[in-house]
Symmetry: C2
Subunit: 335 residues, 2 copies
């Protein structure tokens, strides 16, 4: 049996089970959420790590190294946002083929630094190794919000309850549109360039995570694998079902302009938007939305029952989509 038979999520579950007897004194959240959380001094550290491999997570000839640097850090920041935390310190590991141009690494670091400054992150160290393929791995730690008794306030995947409302930040599908614009061979237009910008230059929602926490919301995940799949992760972790109204999914305007009828499916299943899904009571969602200024869009509700996402059209009928998201190891994405 190879890891492609298990798939990413099967393998994560297997490794989580293998580690269950490890010492857990100070650990508050371990494997299986957007980030880990542990007690540290008088506070709580939120920590995550994310990798980009050339040819797997980005197309080295099609994108700028500066954008690779930006995106490598933002994917990590988004995990901290999805826990309601505030990012602080990053360790950056580069795996470099020896013939990597120094100019490429200078550009990469310019993008990293730009992102670090935008989100208040300090790059504190890292590692450089040689290898046959370029890869960048970032480990990012941050701080959890604390309540009056110094207990951490967190957004968790497993905190959804039947009857609660599902909302998302931002229009979706821009990143999937950008990936398709990079690879489908059509000539670049302004709209296509903006979609590519959304794919390579995501804006993680630290603000939304904190506003959700302050409004009383306790459940969230970031959209890295795709809305349907990430909502599915909430369902599994919370042992609830979800009804997602596809007609209410907020669509990126350029996505609609360029890809027309495909836009809804791309917004529902495309990964890497790095917006947040939040789940909470209606009044909490309204408070978070008001605090953010930008609105949260209500796209469905949590129901009791099997941990599945039902997709509904505007008349309430159930629909299916050809692919429901991304698994990093499976041979067949639609499996």
């Amino acid at each position: 049996m190879n890891v492609s038979d298990l798939g990413e999520f099967g393998l994560i579950e297997r490794l989580r089970a293998a580690l269950l007897q490890a010492p857990y004194d100070r650990l508050i959240v371990g494997i299986g959420d957007d980030a880990a959380v542990w007690r540290s001094g008088g506070g709580c550290t939120v920590a995550t790590t994310d990798t980009m491999v050339a040819g797997v997570h980005f197309l080295p000839r099609a994108v700028a190294w500066r954008d690779v640097g930006w995106k490598a850090l933002t994917t990590n920041i988004s995990d901290i946002a999805a826990m309601g935390g505030t990012p602080a310190f990053a360790l950056v590991t580069l795996c470099l083929p020896p013939d990597t141009p120094v100019a490429a690494i200078d550009e990469l670091y310019a993008g990293l630094r730009e992102c670090a400054e935008a989100y208040g992150v300090t790059i504190a160290g890292g590692d450089i190794v040689s290898g046959p393929v370029f890869a960048i791995t970032i480990a990012l730690t941050g701080d959890a919000a604390l309540d009056a008794g110094d207990a951490p306030l967190l957004l968790r995947r497993g905190a959804a309850k039947a009857g609660e409302i599902i909302a998302v930040t931002g229009p979706l599908g821009g990143s999937a549109g950008g990936l398709r614009a990079l690879t489908d061979g059509s000539p670049l237009t302004n709209a296509r360039s903006r979609l590519i910008e959304r794919h390579m230059h995501p804006q993680p929602r630290i603000d939304a995570g904190r506003a959700a926490l302050e409004a009383g919301i306790r459940c969230a995940i970031d959209i890295s694998d795709g809305l349907v799949q990430d909502l599915g992760h909430i369902c599994v972790a919370s042992s609830v079902g979800a009804e997602l109204h596809l007609d209410r999914v907020p669509l990126d305007g350029d996505l609609v302009a360029v890809f027309g009828d495909d836009a809804v499916a791309m917004a529902a299943t495309g990964g890497e938007d790095y917006e947040l899904i939040v789940v909470g009571a209606g009044d909490a969602v309204a408070r978070a939305s008001a605090a953010l200024g930008t609105s949260l869009t209500i796209v469905g509700c949590i129901v009791s029952g099997a941990p599945l996402v039902r997709l509904l059209d505007e008349s309430g009928g159930e629909v299916t989509l050809p692919s429901t998201g991304w698994d990093h190891l499976k041979k067949d994405r639609s499996a």
Copy 2:
């Protein structure tokens, strides 16, 4: 210009300079030591990251996956030891070709878990991505010792002063002997097997780092690149010179038995022993040695002058060795 022209240490210096204007509020130690240190809650976090790539850092057909798991974590623990810290939480990133056998990952995790339990580390999370080559990246955080005023007590590369004594833990060269035993094609003997065990199953010196701190020592580094090269890092960081008496370098017994006359050069320049070099006043070194039970071996002294390591034979004459350690990016190791 490619990264192989700059080399690992040239590139690290370039990236450190590129990041100097980043926000540094809580940062105590940034790029350029064995680990980074920052304030976290009321305490101080020590953090490091280290990668192993198949075919670069280990030979996948020659070694057991369990040992790869052990070693991947110990290299990180050793960085925390070299700062005088105590390891606590790890994030583990796997880059996996899709045809990786699940049994290999199970074995890898058995080794990781064995090491985590031996050193009190909790594996709190990580990331799994697909890629063309197996790689494991671990980010490890721990806690710095604090003085009565909650300031961190640290072992630093840059704290060596002229007149201080240089001492090392443990016999050296076992790891270099193990690497040579794995690759020179000679039949396995018991001594060669023990050397390979030392190469793949190092024992980082958390105990020695803490004992050194408590004894008043403030300068250390772990031996990952090789004694001469790592001592050179201390010289550069501290703006001092060093005299290293090759005849006093403690030699691994199996190394001498198997490789005879090559043993001294292998112990002086071979990497990955993961013992510590400590630098301090004679009485502090004596106190640390007594506290450890196992002796620290005095191998030289710090002198004023250019940041170079002079190698001396038993009559005090200067000698040269063909290679002085490992650079992960340089084309020519002896350059």
